[in-house]
Amino acid sequence: MFGFSKEQGIAFLLLLILVVVCPFVLYPVFLMNVLCFALLACAFNLLIGYVGLMSFGHAAYFGMGAYVCAYAAKVWGLTPEVCVLLGGITGGLLGVVFGWLAIRRQGIYFAMITLALAQMNYFFCLQAPFTHGEDGIQQVPRGALFGIFSLANDRAMYVFIAVLFLFFFLLIHRIVHSPFGQVLKAIRENEPRATSLGYRTDDYKLIAFILSCFIAGIAGGAKALVFGIATLTDVNFETSGEIVLMTLVGGMGTIFGPGVGALVLKGMENYLAGIGSWVTVVQGCIFVVCVLAFRRGIIGEIGARLKLVL
């Protein structure tokens, strides 16, 4: 019903089982972090993998989503689902403005414009009083879902985040395999030809961009609630780089790749924390190995071996 092929159906079932079983084995907060970043990487992948637009500023939408969600939860005392939605809308609105400017260019120019706009956004977050500069918005309450179910417990929060992730994961999959998604892929392959077929490619690109930013904002909002904090780290360009890395390591243009990439990178950050700043060195090495040895990423490479589209 979501346009899954048989193999993708099996892979999705596997994912579902993992999402259900993992919190009993692994640390739930770590898993929630992975899910938030997996969602963010999926949103980014929607652009680079299916439209061929390399955005280098996705941290802006992620981080602004986190700030607005945290502010709404802490100052306005709204319920978590509304806060996360507000985060998504913030990301989407920012996407309208940034996207409208950026989609007029392609390739490296597109990447640079998105990066420049994201840096402007970073400076805004640094100076705006409501973000509290370097301190960030701290002590954000998780609240009660729909005002009824308290999310203070990590397990309860995990269920909320997992449902959120699966919903948007399926949404992205649906988008990619819809007629709209077909046009996006046509634009990726050959934009002049898509134009000659009568498609307004700029409109399609803008809509895809806004969708991606909206989901990035949702992911940011969810992360802010999980950790109870929204800080400059979320809007920093290093986060943007990390998103690119996750998508490339997992497999660009695959549905499951970005999630796997998020798991790998966040896993390293979590379990190699003891070696301190060397984590970034290890990440760099992995990136080089990935580009040299398996350019399609983990899932892309598995898919190519098995001749499947995952």
Binding site: Y27, V29, E134, D135, G136, Q138, G274
Partner: protein, 406 residues
């Protein structure tokens, strides 16, 4: 053959080690986590020597029927990183107490997590007064210093000696902002005035030239440095290079002995600064430093690091007093016990912990010696004045800590 032989040797070794491991496992364990900056501007003021100081406390405490582990991590001066490490330590790794935590923004985040998990947070490295004020909680103690005490001691002394117009260069986060505003209060209270302030992004700034030039054009007599660690060192060095030091007096509102060492006496001589610990203060601090020297021969502890020692030792005493099982179950109860017991150790002497979580120790105003006056390595300070514990800190009623009224 070789493989088999090494296998044999390995299993023999395992047989020897295994019973010992089991014997250790039977003892109750307390786990201390040192969370600080291991790679950024505050590495030298806290960093590895804070960990050594905590280990020294464990050693000096001795065996009281329970084992003590010390682990550490780098929070990179980022609140979200600090908070997520704290969360993982409490949830996953069985850490009972988190020590040090410099950088006020991180300290507040870690303190929040600590309260949520009902563990213990003994802060030595952060200066924000919010930890014992509006954001105080029953699980947190701020051991060593705070911006009020620094501003009162150093700022007050500067105004008295004629520096009555100030310009602040401020690290743009909660610590720097509070330090500058507390400093400004004391300057104004003493009849001085503040001509301006410039804030720089933390922790990403290395080049302070534009901020220093702003200070120069202001015409103020005193340049107040509301920052810490490597930032302070860079500011002082660059101010010296610009010749600023000939026209303005520098007031480093927070400076540690490791910073003085980093600057060298030639540059640092004559600076006034405030610490609550100095290794050469009295016989007890010298004895403590002699013990520490066996572990870290080339450095001397500053107040942040010595505060980690003092806090860890007092914590372990409280744990021994109330039993490991009780201590592990309820962090707030341990902190309550720590507040009830008077403190006494070689580094900070006799002291106490106030009900809002403020460690009460005297504040010492030092002047940095000139190279000619310095007799030995690390012989850096002349004691100028001592503010007694009761007067050094913000009065209890002014802090607005919710714990005080209940």
């Amino acid at each position: 053959m070789i493989a088999r032989r090494s296998l044999l040797a390995g299993s023999a070794a395992a047989a020897v080690i295994a019973p010992r491991v089991r014997a250790q496992g039977a003892k109750p364990r307390i786990k201390l986590g040192v969370l600080n900056d291991m790679s950024g501007p505050y590495r030298d003021t806290g960093g590895p020597l804070s960990i050594t100081c905590v280990q020294q406390a464990v050693q000096d405490f001795g065996d009281h029927g329970f084992a003590v582990d010390v682990i550490n991590a780098d929070h990179g001066n980022k609140p979200d990183q600090g908070a997520s490490i704290a969360r993982r330590w409490y949830d996953e790794d069985g850490v009972d107490v988190i020590l040090d935590v410099p950088t006020s923004s991180v300290a507040l985040a870690v303190s929040t997590v600590t309260k949520e998990k009902n563990k213990v947070n003994l802060n030595s490295g952060a200066g924000t007064v919010d930890l014992t004020g509006s954001q105080c909680n029953p699980n947190t103690i701020q051991w060593t210093y705070d911006v009020y005490m620094l501003a009162k001691s150093t700022g007050g002394a500067m105004v008295k000696s004629g520096g009555d117009s100030w310009f602040f260069v401020t690290a743009d986060y909660v610590f720097g902002q509070q330090l500058a505003s507390e400093g400004a209060k004391f300057v104004k209270a003493a009849g001085g005035k503040v001509l301006g302030e410039t804030r720089y992004p933390f922790p990403a700034t290395n080049d302070f030239s534009s901020f220093l030039l702003q200070a120069q054009t202001s015409g103020a007599k005193v340049l107040g440095l509301a920052n810490a660690g490597a930032d302070t060192i860079n500011c002082i060095k660059q101010a010296a290079e610009f010749g600023l030091t000939q026209r303005m007096k520098l007031a480093a509102l927070l400076m540690f002995i490791s910073d003085v060492n980093g600057l060298g006496l030639q540059t640092a001589q004559g600076l006034t600064l405030t610490e609550s610990f100095y290794w050469d203060l009295n016989d007890r601090t010298r004895a403590f430093s002699a013990r520490l020297k066996q572990k870290a021969p080339d450095v001397r502890a500053d107040m942040d690091q010595a505060g980690c020692y003092s806090a860890a030792l007092h914590y372990l005493k409280a744990v021994a007093d109330m039993g490991v099982a009780n201590a592990k179950a309820n962090g707030a109860a341990v902190v309550a016990r720590m507040k009830a017991m008077p403190t006494d150790d070689d580094a900070f002497g006799k002291g106490s912990v106030r009900e809002d979580g403020r460690g009460m120790f005297p504040a010492y105003l030092f002047e940095v010696k000139s190279p000619a006056e310095s007799q030995a390595p690390w012989d850096y300070y002349k004691l100028i004045a001592t503010t007694p514990a009761g007067e050094a800190y913000r009065p209890l009623a002014e802090g607005g800590c919710p714990l005080v009224h209940t």
